[in-house]
Symmetry: D2
Subunit: 196 residues, 4 copies
């Protein structure tokens, strides 16, 4: 097996460990806040790779009919107290995300933080924290195997393990929303961009 | 007067010439298509600097309450025949913009092209063309003055004159929409992003 | 186990199947084209969720010191024949991506297509195709298990399986590039944005 | 003359007033910091319409051969003390821009603020402030004419006057850079994106 495929097995096993470790109660709360959003706005916050994960999630929420927006894009309207904000940051210290979560909190919007660090500045402004562990948190369990594969290198550098886990995790949230809302893939396809 | 301020006078005079040369009928049609859009979607197409001009226009349309989207951003839903597409390209040959206008035309959406070239590929897919001249078209009139200021240089290189003229022109469209729709700045501020 | 966690196991197993099915030769060629890029430009093409996957890959390539750009962003310079283009599209039919790959091919740049469809329009303009299967291709193997979990719903709607597989796969390419180029996480951190 | 054209004359006259009021010394300092940047990085900060103005400026800097980046886009590398940051905000209070300017200042990068408010939080973190007045500052002079045209409406709502003035002003900076660096339009065209 090539190195790339070997690493993929190690990474997928890591993602599985991360997702299985998310608290069931936090998953349920996140889904409830989304299903209760109704026609209120959902605003996604995140920079860098966490921002791309957030955008991928936002697209699927749009396909499901949610009224979703992404910070940093052109069309981002004003927040109201009844809106939901989902802030994604592994470290929980990204300044622009923390600054925006703070404003959202002041406005009174419901803020969900998806982060590896429940004690981070971001978590401080969140009504709900969904802990998606990153590398540092799961190192203990997988460290031996990693050293064997990689020597001194880390095959999931920087926030990779958090970002991939958050990406897969949020696509599973989408699957659950489809089930609960009774939406089929055909319903979603109707809202898929058709002029690209 | 510094060179920068001298150039600004020359550029502003050029923008004025371009905007005064837009056909009144084309302006009126563009405004009508927008006011008749109602709750239907408006999709803005454009790349590079024309894309930024389009985004700046999209933001103001959102502030006025229009249901507007920008191609290339995360939240870009599917087009329907009753939607309006505004495609901005000075040259009218930008491939991705032409490709998207073609799809929009196939879907049956109303396509407005804002371009310097009424005979361009983009114009071919447009229901309405608003001609905003670019440099090449107004060179004759201002060439002597330019040579005096710049020698061999052109102080409005590439699409600069089209882009600046389109930016100012579309802000004037916004002013007219405010008047016709009876919207005040206070109405617009309510929709302005408040979490940045 | 909650529905979300159950779906995650099914999705991770699907991703594993997709990545293990990629041809070793195609992986090796893609890595070679990247390591041979040197200081030449690498341009990433993709829209929607495939675009976000491409951006996440681009960020890591930048962290490794590559001279990488993303189509549709502000700073996207002109292509030269010695540059490398990576076009990502599960279906291989996304118009804007195909249009840009066509131009890149005309210019003479080396085009790599990452797609589920080796016979697609996109693949036609590619020098190398890396086949990352999407849902339709692996349905046969996992269909029974899926029906048990989801009933009529598909827990990985639209391009989800392709996008997640491509995201993980390209992070494994990054791990291999780190190893081959002798780059550590510390080297990468130095290039990580520090003003966000 | 149509309302749109009448408004355009009023707006262009306003832009002229704003640009002529910029301090010559501030213009000269901004140009010096750019020409001295050499191969160091230039990072543009801005959100909303000011962000689009910044991106349009960034594109031209790239065409001139500068090593320029835009905050919020994929490829934004780490800042170093020798880098130059240009932060654009009419009000000077946009949180994410202020937060990033603060980090840039901590790193020791040279920060230029383009703002209407030299006493704003943004200006506090800037080494140089270029004051581009917005509406509130020039109201006195043009108020009578505006009331005649618009009645209670303001034809340049929110930050319009700042944004348009900054856009034209920075294109004039580009014209001056072309002259000083001896760059022709043909040099610039070589760096223009050719795969869009």
């Amino acid at each position: 097996m090539s190195f790339v495929k070997e690493v993929s097995k190690w990474i997928l096993s890591g993602i599985n460990g991360v997702i299985q470790s998310v608290e069931e109660g936090e998953i349920e709360e996140m889904i409830s806040m989304l299903t209760e959003a109704g026609k209120n706005k959902i605003l996604i916050l995140g920079t860098g790779r966490s921002g791309f994960v957030g955008r991928a999630f936002a697209l699927r929420l749009m396909h499901l009919g949610f009224n979703v927006y992404v910070s940093g894009e052109t069309i981002t309207p004003s927040l109201s107290p009844e809106d939901v904000v989902i802030a994604i940051s592994g470290s929980g210290v990204t300044r622009t995300v923390v600054a925006q979560a703070e404003v959202a909190k002041e406005i009174g919007s419901k803020v969900i933080a998806v982060t590896s660090h429940p004690d981070s500045p971001l978590a401080k402004y969140a009504d709900r924290v969904v802990v998606v562990k990153g590398r540092s948190k799961i190192d203990g369990e997988i460290d031996y195997e990693r050293r064997q594969i990689m020597g001194e290198y880390d095959p999931a550098p920087l926030g990779t393990m958090f970002e991939l886990s958050a990406m897969v995790f949020m696509d599973c949230i989408i699957a659950d929303l489809m089930r609960r809302l009774g939406k089929s893939e055909i319903d979603m396809r109707k809202r898929h961009a058709n002029a690209e």
